[in-house]
Every structure is written in structure tokens, then in C-alpha cells.
């Protein structure tokens, strides 16, 4: 698999083919696992990390189908940034050092980080709302690996992890939602508070520590100990349809609003793309977010959700530089980004 070719399209989980794709972009389930006889990654030296990497890579070749492994230690920073922008590795992993890497399959639905905060971070991504499907795939992957790798496990505490926030199931199930209308009506704060009360966490587009850019919110379980995986999936899965309902109602209300009509906002967004010769990543994401909403409510018949979701990744700096064939400074990136949007969205420059 070639990283240069990868940037030209998005992972299969970003194709807007799953249930509730107009609001739910994707579903992700990850499991944290560690090897019993090694110190956790933050305490391991490079020799030990190298041993862990070798051991895991060897066993990965035995799973069906075997994913491709990309070591990060000597990978150029731009390529590591590409993997981060595609949600295949964490920010810490992109900027870290020492033996570490990521394995993933064609389509990027399954990925596996080696020597992240935990020795292993298994991740399954699905398009739309599909918690059960994601859990089923990751459970199978975990079952295949557990017979080959001696996991750190205690009958009392479950799967032992570097951070006690993940111990037990080691599972974080999350759903990425596009909630521009709830943000517009300022009801998002109420949703946020209600979710916190039932021990669910709300994060931005890139998980922990990131803010809700482009009106994207990741909702995930906080509790990993004392509940089974199916219970966690069921509890999270029970809440999401309610949020979808609120967002749909807010979208209809915004469409009917004569004071601040949604149609005006969509037209202003199109005008911005047509007229701006430069665009920051944040500005591009804001424009794409409004066009995603327009497409979802039937106000942009020439656009498709999958095309927009792919652009959310491609307007980011590492993808943009790869697509343009080389390093660009900030000003060049902003110019290239504005041109890319016009070209891909078929909007003529004004």
C-alpha cells in the first residue's frame, strides 16, 4: 500500500454508505491491549519497544487478512501527519519517537497502533451508525490476536492498561456526529450537559483534546470497568437516536426560519468559496460543514456527502501538500486549498 496513493481518496468508513449518514459520519470502536511481561510504553526503553513491535508484527501476519504495517520511527513527518489526519494514528503517536507503527487494511476499516500509550490499540471504523457491526469486527480481530499474544489480564480488573481510565474492557466506542443545527440553535450545550450526566464523553473531530471544528462531535463511553462490552454498546447506541432526532428537528426549524434562513447561509458559503483566493483549514472546514448540511437537507442536489467527507480530510495541511506534490508554506497552502475546493465542488471563481 502506498501512502501517496492513499491521499487521493478516503477510507471506506468515510463513504457515507452507513445508517443515518446524513448526521452520523462514522462509528469507531477501539480496544486497548498490553503484553503481560513488558512495561507499559511510557516506561519501556527503545530496545523493549522494538521487541514489542517485532512480536506484534510477526503475529499480525497470521491474522486473516493480514494488514499492512507501517513503522513510524523513520517515516517522514509529513507522512505521519497524513496518517493522523486520516484518524489512523493519534496526535501523540505522530509526534512521538522510538519504535512504533500502525497496521491497517485496504479501506482503513481496521487499524492497529503499536506502542501507542498501550502496546496495542485495535480500531475498527464503520460508516454511519453501526456500533454493533464495529463491535463484532473488533471482537473477532481481538479473538484472533489473543491466542497469539500474551495479554495483560486480571480476573478482577480485566484488561490492564497504562491509564486506569481504560482498564477493564479497554474499550472506547464512539460515534462521530455532524450537529450544525444544534450548534446554530445553541442547544448543543444542553446535549453536552445531559450526556455528561450519564457518563458519556463529548469530544471534537480528532478525539481527546480537540475542539468541535466543523460542528463535528464524537460521543463516547467514559466507563470501561464494571460493564460488559455489549452493555456499553447498548447504552451508547440507545442515546444516539435521540440526538439524531433533536438535530433533525433543529434542521427543519432552521429551514423554516425566516429571520436567519438556512438557504441564505448556504448561498453565502458558495459565494465565499467562489470569491476567496485563500482559505485557512478552519475556514474550509466551516464551508464544507455548511455544504454537508445543505446536501443532507436536499438543498445542494449536485453534491454528495461522500465527496464532502473526503474533502474534510483533503483540505488538511499534510493531505493538501501530498496532493499538490510537495511542501508548501502557509500562504501557498491557503491558495491551494481555495483552488481545491472550487475544483472539487465545481464552483467557478468569481
Amino acid at each position: 500500500m502506498n501512502l501517496d496513493a492513499l491521499v487521493k481518496s478516503s477510507g471506506e468508513w468515510l463513504k457515507a454508505t452507513g445508517p443515518e449518514s446524513t448526521i452520523v459520519v462514522s462509528t469507531r470502536v477501539r480496544l486497548a491491549r498490553n503484553l503481560a511481561a513488558y512495561p507499559f510504553t511510557s516506561r519501556a526503553n527503545n530496545f523493549q519497544k522494538g521487541e514489542i513491535e517485532g512480536l506484534v508484527c510477526d503475529k499480525l501476519q497470521q491474522i486473516v487478512p493480514p494488514p499492512d504495517y507501517f513503522p513510524l520511527a523513520n517515516m517522514p513527518a509529513l507522512d505521519r501527519q497524513v496518517l493522523f489526519e486520516r484518524h489512523l494514528i493519534s496526535r501523540d503517536m505522530a509526534s512521538g519517537d522510538g519504535p512504533r507503527g500502525v497496521a491497517f487494511n485496504t479501506g482503513e476499516a481496521i487499524s492497529l497502533m503499536v506502542n501507542e500509550e498501550d502496546h496495542l490499540r485495535l480500531q475498527v471504523m464503520r460508516s454511519g451508525l453501526d456500533l454493533q457491526g464495529a463491535w463484532s469486527v473488533i471482537d473477532d480481530l481481538d479473538n484472533q490476536l489473543e491466542g497469539k499474544l500474551p495479554y495483560a489480564f486480571s480476573e478482577e480488573f480485566g484488561y490492564l492498561t497504562a491509564c486506569p481510565t481504560n482498564v477493564g474492557t479497554g474499550m472506547r466506542a464512539s460515534v462521530m456526529l455532524h450537529l450544525p443545527a444544534l450548534e446554530h440553535t445553541r442547544h448543543i450545550e444542553q446535549v453536552y450537559r445531559a450526556l455528561q450526566k450519564i457518563s458519556l464523553e463529548v469530544r471534537g473531530l480528532y478525539g481527546e483534546g480537540s475542539r468541535a471544528s466543523g460542528h463535528f462531535y464524537q460521543i463516547s463511553n467514559q466507563v470501561t470497568l464494571g460493564k460488559s462490552e455489549p452493555t456499553i454498546i447498548k447504552e451508547l447506541g440507545g442515546v444516539i437516536p435521540e440526538i439524531i432526532r433533536y438535530e433533525n428537528e433543529a434542521r427543519q426549524a432552521w429551514l423554516a426560519d425566516t429571520q436567519q434562513p438556512l438557504k441564505d447561509r448556504i448561498q453565502r458559503t458558495r459565494d465565499t468559496i467562489a470569491t476567496e483566493s485563500q482559505m485557512t483549514c478552519e475556514e474550509a472546514i466551516e464551508c464544507l460543514s455548511i455544504l454537508r448540511l445543505a446536501t443532507a437537507v436536499g438543498e445542494a442536489p449536485t453534491l454528495e456527502l461522500a465527496q464532502l467527507d473526503e474533502l474534510f480530510i483533503q483540505v488538511q495541511q499534510a493531505h493538501l501538500q501530498k496532493l499538490m506534490g510537495g511542501p508548501l508554506d502557509s500562504e501557498e497552502r491557503n491558495t491551494a486549498r481555495a483552488q481545491l475546493l472550487r475544483q472539487k465542488l465545481n464552483i467557478a471563481a468569481a
Binding site: 498490553n34 512495561p39 489480564f153 486480571s154 478482577e156 480488573f157 466507563v223 470497568l225 460488559s228
Partner: protein, 161 residues
């Protein structure tokens, strides 16, 4: 515990420093700490809370397998090895209850045999000794430890005791 400097007053300020990769601990009373400029050290909030919570004994505890101290964990939020859950059991209980409400695992468990705890702990300890031998350039010792680790790691897994 008495102050390291005056050996009279009780030590209420506990300082851990990493100097050239080695951990140095000092325990000082209020007066000696002030005289030696240690009063300027930022307050170690986790350590202070630990004392207030009556878990001062935990503050002195280190894991025999990976060497991490409980206070180092409280400061960084990351444990050093899987065995820490056992070593720091008393200190972790309250934290796990606050994080998860319950502290007994209810999820899946590996269907295959789990590596024996004693064997895992021995391997962890040997790996730490090997790392220390390499750091202090005792390469012959490191080679012997490496061989011992390789032999032990080959042992078949058995059910957790």
C-alpha cells in the same frame, strides 16, 4: 519520618528529582526546605492530596517490577507495568471507583490460557535489570540477563493462579 537535613523535625515535604536518569528522593521539614530554597518548588498537588487522604504509606511505595513510584503515577497519570494494579491496589481503589463507579471487571476475558502472573512479574523484573545493566555499561551482565529472559519467555503459558 524525620527530616533528612536536621534529623529532628518531621519531614513534611517530599521531593523526587530525576538527575542523570536516576531518581533522587529527599524528605525535608518546613524550615529546612525554606532554608534550602525548596519552598519555591511548585506544590505537588497529587502528593498533597495523597497525604490528606491518609494514604501517605502509598506515597512511599515503588513497584518492584518496573520501579515506578505511586507518586510518579499520580503526577503523570500513567502506570509503569501491568503488575502496578496489584502493587498499588490500595491507592488505585478509590480512583477506579471515582472513574468507573464499579471496580470489578464484567466484560470479555481471553478464552486462551493467560500468562502466569509469577512468570510475567519475573520477566518484567529481569527486563528492568537488563535495562539497568545496559545503562551502566555492564554488557556481560546484560547478555546473561537477555539469555535468561529468552529462556523464560519460551515457557508455555498456564492458567492464571
Amino acid at each position: 519520618m524525620k527530616c533528612d537535613l536536621c534529623d529532628i523535625a518531621p519531614a513534611t515535604i517530599h521531593i523526587t528529582r530525576i538527575v542523570d536518569g536516576k531518581k533522587c528522593k529527599s524528605h525535608l521539614c518546613q524550615n529546612c526546605a525554606a532554608e534550602n530554597g525548596q519552598h519555591k518548588t511548585p506544590i505537588n498537588l497529587p502528593a498533597l492530596l495523597q497525604v490528606l487522604l491518609g494514604q501517605n504509606d502509598m506515597a512511599q511505595m515503588d513497584c518492584p517490577c518496573c520501579g515506578i513510584g505511586f507518586m510518579e503515577f499520580r503526577t503523570n497519570g500513567r502506570l509503569g507495568c501491568p503488575h502496578d494494579y496489584e502493587v498499588f491496589r490500595k491507592g488505585l481503589g478509590g480512583l477506579l471507583r471515582r472513574l468507573h463507579s464499579k471496580i470489578a471487571h464484567k466484560g470479555k476475558r481471553p478464552s486462551r490460557p493467560i500468562q502466569d502472573n509469577v512468570l510475567s512479574q519475573k520477566l518484567l523484573t529481569l527486563r528492568r535489570s537488563m535495562s539497568q545493566a545496559v545503562s551502566s555499561e555492564r554488557y556481560e551482565d546484560a547478555a546473561l540477563l537477555k539469555r535468561e529472559i529468552q529462556q523464560l519467555a519460551q515457557e508455555p503459558v498456564s492458567h492464571e493462579s
